[in-house]
Symmetry: C2
Amino acid sequence: MKKLDFWYEFASTYSYLTAMRIGPLAKAAGVEVNWRPFLLGPIFKAQGMETSPFNLYPLKGSYMWRDLTRWSELLELPKFVQPSRFPQNTISASRIALALDDKARPDFTREVYVAEFTKDKDIGDAATLFEVLKKLGHDPEALIAKSVEQPIKDKLRANTEEAMKLGIFGAPDFVTEDGELFWGNDRLEQALAWAKKQAA
Amino acid sequence: MKKLDFWYEFASTYSYLTAMRIGPLAKAAGVEVNWRPFLLGPIFKAQGMETSPFNLYPLKGSYMWRDLTRWSELLELPKFVQPSRFPQNTISASRIALALDDKARPDFTREVYVAEFTKDKDIGDAATLFEVLKKLGHDPEALIAKSVEQPIKDKLRANTEEAMKLGIFGAPDFVTEDGELFWGNDRLEQALAWAKKQAA
């Protein structure tokens, strides 16, 4: 089965939309998804941006919140709630995602996004992540401890460096096995079609 | 029949894609399209940008050229050619578009985009616009003369000011009769569905 790398950042609103819809679409396309969290902060900094472009360009920001509300309705997701803080600190969530095995990562990722964008929870807060892990039947203490060990820290740093090398400048992104890069939730269908075509 | 305002800038690559595909899609949705050229320059300036974000953020720019090539293949458009100059001076093309009547504007717009993005023509050059008008069976001299008269100049300025008031920050955009704003070629389907839903 052909693989598609799904690059996402826990602070990214459009990554949230993709996380909620990629599962069934990839299954229908016969494509296996590799969930790869990374940090946008260093990537924005390298482009000369000290925060999200949605904060730097307020008109674009206002539009994005409205767009997310519309998308949430179209996808029949829980009501979208503009978070009190944006972007959030996502280091802990990203590390825990990498401390989990590949099969457990998608559910954890979706649950964190739901807390962040439909319940206005602070996902930088250990208590939020503890609750998510507990709800999913994991051992929160063990995973939170594992997530701050050096190999996991290194894994997140390596992911972010790899994203940078791929020319990634925002999130979400999709990279096919032959190295084609697609940016944005609205390119998910094109990325899956590309991966499927390569598979044929 | 319900109407949809299609806001476009002649320098905008994604506006080009929309111009090439909006016709049949709008017809199928039973929506009448109002083609509204405007200038992004003053809108970028108001956001603190002296040029296109695709120039300000080179990684985003490189990605965009690749994305346009892929889109052109998917839409079966002529081979996409990255223009030597970007963004181009679009004042003359925009004024001529407004000097033409509503029925003639779509064909002129598409022809200018084809010259710009598949033949590397300078659309800021009067000779390019003259050729396009001639090809379409218009009287180039009369239209070019009309396009620099005050009422047409005022119309373009008014369009740009209206775009700014609508919260437009990039192109293309779609605005429904009930005032819903959609940004980007990849929101065309959502915009048409919204307009259609309002019509029902």
